[in-house]
């Protein structure tokens, strides 16, 4: 190693590190028209993008509505409505930010930001998805009586009714369009769910579930979570190879490319033990945030910042430069 060179005051001598420092360029410069390069690149991109748009267009599959769901899969709709009523659905047991279900928040080593931030979009599934919409039908005394009977009953009675209904609806017949549930001791729940189904089929439930209390609304949290609590949406997504175990994050409906850049994010969901963990989402996010931080701070991390020099891919990129160096001093 060459001894330290004399340094001026305030400047500390340090060793050249090839993964941090550069040698001064004393070689030749050549004409390089940046504006011309940009305009040519722009034209090329426009041509490529236009060609892709003309040939492949873009996907636009019709969204699922509560109306279309209840018509296409009435048993699933009825089972979901009963689960919302008895508080056993995915949304009802989700935890923050929708409700305060104990033990539902994800955590790592006892740290749970989900619990810390708490409930911000409160959803009471029994009331928001079933009882409140049915209360908007004041001209249906039988429905209002069923709602009154259910809401004034003890919790144990409510649970017995919904359990009996869920058992019966599993054997329901919807082959002729209408939902026919075998008789059982489910009290007013049968009336509640059949009325809600009728409301859904008319399209009225879609509007009733919109979160906004104003004329204009853009928050679809409640109807989306309601639809997602059923199996209809997931089955449809499975058919479009969009589910998590199908690397769905990278896919689009049809055969269109999706967010392929999320390949690493979706990879972790396929890997044990994350793929079976109850805290998988938080683990994957923590992992990705850590990896992103490492990528951003790569220039400061010894070892990792040396990978480019070790792999020598740069010899391919600057092959002409190294050829020139080998053939003689830089001009």
């Amino acid at each position: 190693m060459t001894p330290a060179a004399p340094t001026s005051p305030g400047h500390r001598a340090r060793r050249f590190k090839p993964d941090r420092d550069v040698a001064e360029w004393h070689g030749a410069y050549r004409p390089y028209d940046l504006v011309k390069e940009f305009l040519i690149a722009l034209v090329v991109v426009v041509i490529v993008v236009t060609g892709l748009a003309v040939i492949f267009s873009s996907p636009d599959d019709t969204p699922v509505t509560v109306k279309s769901w209840s018509a296409a899969s009435p048993v699933d709709f009825a089972q979901t409505a009963a689960a919302e009523l008895d508080g056993s659905s995915g949304t009802a047991t989700y935890g923050p930010p929708y409700n305060a279900t104990t033990g539902a928040s994800q955590s790592i080593l006892g740290v749970s930001p989900q619990s810390f931030f708490g409930v911000h979009h409160p959803i009471d599934t029994a009331n928001d998805y079933v009882l409140a919409p049915l209360r908007t039908l004041p001209d249906r005394p039988a429905v209002q009586a069923a709602v009154d009977r259910y809401t004034t009953a003890p919790a144990s009675q409510q649970a017995a009714w919904t359990a009996a209904y869920e058992k019966a609806v599993a054997k329901a017949d919807a082959s002729h369009g209408a939902l026919v549930v075998p008789p059982g001791a489910y009290g007013p729940v049968g009336t509640l769910v059949s009325s809600l189904t009728a409301m859904a089929r008319s399209g009225a439930l879609d509007g009733a579930l919109l979160s906004s209390r104003q004329f204009y609304g853009t928050d679809y949290t409640k109807p989306l979570l309601f639809i997602a609590d059923g199996t209809y949406l997931a089955d449809k997504a499975q058919g479009q190879h969009l589910s998590g175990d199908q690397w769905g994050m990278m896919n689009e409906t049809g055969s269109f490319p999706g967010q392929a850049w999320l390949w690493l994010y979706t990879l972790w969901y396929q890997v044990a033990p994350i793929n079976t963990s109850a805290n998988a989402d938080f683990q994957v996010w923590a992992l990705m945030m850590g990896l992103t931080l490492i990528l951003a701070l790569l220039p400061f991390i010894p070892g990792l910042r040396s990978i480019p020099r070790w792999t020598r891919v740069y010899r391919l990129i600057w092959r002409q430069h190294y050829r020139d160096l080998a053939s003689g001093p830089a001009s």
Binding site: T7, Y32, P113, W285
Partner: protein
């Protein structure tokens, strides 16, 4: 009766109004008492750091001779198409492309420009990684590039959430779990279409454009990273990095931090 025809033409030409307009630099040079003015100091700092010949150079070091360099400018071009097609979609509103064949075509341009944007950006990122492009005081350039990529992922994600179709429904109901698990779901509600649309067309594009602009300025400020030096030129001891100097003949930055001969250039 005589008629006053006014001053001769020569007098008009000699009017003070016709004097050449002073350039800002000349004005500052003429008025040293303004040197402490914030505007003057900002201008001097900006022009000092990025003089026109460095901001818009017409020459590059000879080692800038690989197809990999094209992917940076291709990324910028694709971003321009993404923004232009996004503006076109914004003009007609979010429902337009669902009911109009023209709208669907513009949406297709928008979608495919996003795909091209990410394709070229990721190749650019890998290329810069294998060049170790953070060397020579270019760490901020690398970091702004990585952060631009991450924010672009967010911008694209909110775009997918704003589609108002089955895909948006599925993505939002799946993505909520990851975002809620971090606690961010308290304020960033992926099932709120209005909120996601605002993030997609206002907030995140502003951040992406600002970051990409800063990234490009840093590239111009520091120049294109030189190749790895041969081993016999690197085992030297030199002073700490000094202030950046420019090669006036080329308009390019040189990095005096560690010269091959161990002395400050």
């Amino acid at each position: 009766m005589s008629i006053d025809t006014g001053p001769p033409a020569e007098a008009v030409i000699e009017s003070p109004v016709a004097d050449p307009i002073e350039t800002p630099d000349e004005a500052a040079a003429d008025r040293p008492e303004d040197a402490g003015q914030w505007s003057a100091r900002l201008r001097h700092s900006a022009v000092g750091a990025l003089p026109p010949e460095r901001l818009m150079p017409d020459r590059q070091p000879a080692y800038v001779a690989s197809w990999i360099y094209v992917f940076g400018v291709l990324t910028l071009s694709a971003l321009a198409v993404v923004i232009l097609t996004g503006i076109a979609l914004s003009v007609m509103g979010p429902q337009w492309w669902h009911v109009s064949s023209t709208g669907l075509f513009v949406n297709s341009l928008h979608l495919w420009s996003v795909e091209v944007f990410f394709f070229t950006m990721i190749i650019h990122l890998w290329g810069k990684f294998f060049m170790a492009a953070w060397r020579g005081k270019r760490r901020a350039t690398w970091i702004t590039g990585v952060v631009s990529f991450v924010v672009s992922v967010g911008a694209a994600f909110t775009g997918y959430l704003s589609q108002q179709n089955f895909d948006a429904q599925w993505i939002s109901t799946q993505a909520k779990d990851g975002i809620n698990s971090t606690g961010a779901g308290a304020i960033f509600n992926v099932t709120n279409f209005g909120q996601m649309l605002m993030w997609h067309i206002v907030l995140l594009p502003l951040v992406v454009v600002a970051l990409v602009g800063l990234h490009v300025l840093l590239v111009r400020l520091r120049g294109v990273v030189p190749p790895f030096a041969p081993p016999d030129q690197t085992d030297v001891v030199g002073p700490d990095p000094g202030p950046l100097s420019a090669d006036p003949s080329s308009g390019h930055s040189t990095t005096p931090s560690v010269a091959a001969n161990g002395e400050r250039p």
